[in-house]
């Protein structure tokens, strides 16, 4: 499943906190489902692209989950202040943060974000979050937030081969 998400979108936060974290524990860690985060920063959100850059930089250090969690959990704070850097710095060591800042300043991360965005447009993603499921040669894009139980039932059906 590919999750097209925007760090500044409240519904993306809800999906991450209420559903996808449990999915990672129950389905991704056990190897049943492969989950890919795709950046789809919407133009209406002033800081979402910056947040995406920090998350991508952290991912290169293997700290994606830590930073993703910090960004979503403190969304209201950095959305108001614009202090994405401070939010990320709070969960990384000084050495890690220095590397993250260097990567963010390097300006090479935008190409990957744009690639995700272009892929989303190919799937006709027009709102976040949108989750695209791939199973048995079929592709099912779903816009919106689903509860864990609803998604669990759907994934179980997909995994059972219908």
């Amino acid at each position: 499943m590919e999750v097209f998400s925007d760090f500044q979108c409240p519904a993306c936060k809800t999906l991450y906190i209420t559903t996808n974290r449990k999915i990672m524990d129950d389905y991704v860690s056990t190897g049943k489902v492969y989950l890919i985060h795709r950046d789809f920063p919407l133009a209406m959100h002033a800081h979402s692209r910056v947040a995406a850059r920090y998350a991508r930089a952290a991912a290169q250090l293997g700290k994606n989950e830590t930073v993703e969690q910090a960004l979503f959990q403190n969304q209201e704070k950095w959305e108001q202040s614009g202090d994405v850097d401070g939010t990320v710095a709070a969960v990384l060591s000084a050495a890690e943060m220095a590397k993250v800042r260097a990567l963010v300043k390097g300006g090479t991360l935008d190409a990957a974000i744009d690639k995700d965005f272009a892929l989303g447009q190919l799937y006709r993603v027009n709102q976040t979050p949108t989750t695209v499921f791939h199973s048995g040669g079929q592709t099912y894009p779903y816009a919106g937030v689903m509860s864990y139980d609803t998604l669990k039932s759907f994934l179980d059906q997909l995994l059972s081969g219908h």
Partner: protein
């Protein structure tokens, strides 16, 4: 047999039935089947409807008028109520009751979108299945539909007091 004279009152009742009935049926189905419209196999359809209802519940919640639990109740009932009332209005069964119910719902919609508009809430209106920003046009549209519903209801009650044009004249 004479045909029913189409006076202004009847014309507005017909317009109201067709426009409001059609819009209510569309609004109900769109909330259930949009924006996720994968219809087959059955578990995929079930997931689509669950997702769409869940999205609608969030839109209801975003008005910050009722609790998340109450929003869930509204999201799970309103689309079906809209479909049933819309169909009943289109076929004209119990016209005065259905028209009254639709007017009450439209006035309710108008009140909540007007409140959200004047509070400058940056939300989707939740009127139909696809996301649609709540703007001044939403208020104007709901106002026009509420006015049409009100007129239709008043005229339906007034018409019910008149003898039906096809009925035989009373013998002296």
């Amino acid at each position: 047999m004479e045909s029913s004279p189409l006076n202004l009152r009847r014309a507005i009742i017909w317009m109201g039935r067709l426009i409001l009935g059609g819009i209510f049926v569309y609004a109900g189905f769109s909330k259930l089947l949009m924006p996720n419209t994968h219809l087959w196999p059955m578990f995929v359809l079930k997931f689509s409807i669950s997702m769409n209802i869940s999205s609608f519940a969030q839109q209801v919640e975003s008005y910050k008028l009722i609790s998340p639990e109450a929003s869930q109740v509204v999201a799970h009932t309103l689309p079906f109520v809209e479909i049933v009332l819309g169909l009943l209005l289109l076929i004209g069964w119990r016209l005065r009751i259905c028209a009254t119910a639709i007017t009450a719902i439209m006035v309710g919609f108008l009140a909540v979108v007007t409140r959200a508009y004047f509070l400058h809430m940056d939300i989707n209106c939740g009127c139909f299945g696809t996301p649609e920003k709540l703007t001044g046009m939403t208020v104007v549209r709901d106002g026009a539909l509420a006015a049409l519903a009100l007129l239709m209801t008043i005229f339906a009650f007034l018409e019910a007091r008149q003898p039906h044009p096809w009925s035989a004249p009373e013998k002296a």
